[in-house]
């Protein structure tokens, strides 16, 4: 019998305690919780007030080293296609055109000083597929591929999630492709014209193109 009454007493006191806590929160709803970060000394002291952030208008900033949206700094891309092969979800599509020798200067160098030998007319990242695993980033030899702190990039049309980073327009790419084809035809002609004896003569021609690929 005493347990019966002590149970009633316990429930009454615990209900009163709980209701006091919720009422305190109810009246604290006129305040906003402070915006002290985890590094600030009074972070754990800001228990009173609303904690909702109305997202599109207010947001917790993403950390500067955050890795969210994938970005390609195309000026540094040498078109090696390692990222394309490494991507587990195949979200990167690359098309490259070999730069002709007279275009090498126009093609430019990477910020690391490496001569670029490929035009990259198509460098598409399907950001809807990308799962931010970072494998492409780790294989990129020139570190031109990296995640940015941009976290909110939703779109109404999924087609807009396909990000184009290529450094040539379609017309330019067509021109470069034509130029390369012409040069190759020229080279083949020269090769044919040279006959069989001086065959070694034009052969070294493409050779120098190979070593810089190291």
């Amino acid at each position: 019998m005493s347990e019966y009454f002590s149970n009633i007493k316990t429930s009454a006191t615990t209900i009163a305690t709980g209701m006091a806590i919720t009422l305190k929160h109810f009246f604290n709803a006129v305040k906003r919780k402070g915006d002290a970060g985890i590094d600030d000394a009074d972070y754990f002291r800001q228990v009173d007030g609303l904690c909702t952030l109305q997202y599109p208008r207010e947001a917790v900033p993403t950390p500067p080293h955050g890795r969210y949206r994938l970005y390609c700094h195309i000026d540094d891309c040498i078109g090696c296609r390692q990222c394309e092969r490494a991507c587990p979800v195949e979200c990167i599509t690359i098309d490259t055109i070999k730069a002709t020798n007279d275009d090498l200067a126009a093609c430019g160098k990477t910020s690391g000083g490496q001569q670029k030998r490929m035009w990259v007319p198509v460098f598409d990242i399907d950001i809807a597929k990308c799962m931010t695993c970072g494998i492409c980033v780790s294989v990129c030899p020139t570190e031109c591929l990296y995640h940015t702190p941009v976290a909110d990039f939703s779109e109404f049309d999924v087609k807009n999630m396909l990000y184009h980073f290529g450094n040539l327009s379609k017309i330019e790419a067509e021109a470069k492709r034509k130029k390369l084809a012409e040069q190759q035809v020229q080279a083949a002609k020269e090769k044919a014209a040279a006959g069989d004896a001086p065959a070694a003569k034009p052969a070294p021609k493409p050779k120098p193109a190979a070593p810089p690929q190291e």
Binding site: Y4, I8, G18, T22, H25, T52, Q54
Partner: protein
Amino acid sequence: MSSSPSLNTWSDALSGLSIGWFPLGLVIIAAIPLVFIALYALTYGVYGERKISAFMQDRLGPMEVGFWGLLQTLADILKLLQKEDIVPKMADKFLFVIGPGILFVGSFLAFAVLPFGPAFIGADLNVGLFYAVGIVALEVVGILAAGWGSNNKWALYGAVRSVAQIVSYEIPASIALLCAAMLAGTLSMQQITMMQAGPGGFMHWFLFTNPIAWLPFLIYFISSLAETNRAPFDIPEAESELVAGYFTEYSGMKFAVIFLAEYGSMFMVSAIISIAFLGGWTSPLPNIGGLELNAMTSGPVWGAFWIIMKGFFFIFVQMWLRWTLPRLRVDQLMYLCWKVLTPFSLIAFVLTAVWVINH
């Protein structure tokens, strides 16, 4: 006891009003509480509950539709109106369709005897309190019809639990209200309220005029939570166990009607508890010397204001409890009803009887 000369004048005048054979006044009398339920459920019931729950959990609640989300409920209603009226293939169509109707009618019928101020009451029955307690039992039929007709195990479990709960809790609730009826010496809602009217304001209320009334007051409040399926007694719709309980299969306007019935009965029990123990439409302000606060805040319109405010206060307490307490288990629920509330309500009954005899 002071008696207002204008008792029931508005509703009496309305009930006499008719155009030819058509009793227009009676229709208006029925429409007033209906419009009231709809408006209050839309504003205070849904929007208020969402905001209150949000504030209690340090959130903001609806903020996007209109200023501070004021139009959110309107948007929700529009959404519900547009929804397809689905009746599950294997459901008992008749029961499934009439379930929400019976539920709403059950909670709405009790509004007939709720006095909205001294001048307005749907029907001033001399058995008003008894009628209110009895007619609410119709809700049980609606819940069982909805749960059984859905042909869904969640719905059936919810309905069975709900019926067991409501039938059990009607006993302490009725005995607690009997204490108030004993104190007043009448079952008429208007008469019970009149017994608590006076120049002293809240000092004439049954809760404060005698030392026992707090016990039936608490008992009735706890039982009313169970009767309206509110937390912590919301096991019939326990969303974490039973999806949504007896209205799992409902969508669109039928769902809205069930919600309306729920909010209607929430106000109904809150109004009954304020009539039985807190003076109904009487003003809580006392006359202090020459300052006639009570006289200034009495009258038909003030009466409507006070009873609605008292009802809203208890609805606030119901919401407050909902966002504080965890849900009871079925056995705990039955323990509370049969082993705690029922014996205590009998004790309260006896003590009240002794008090009434000695005064």
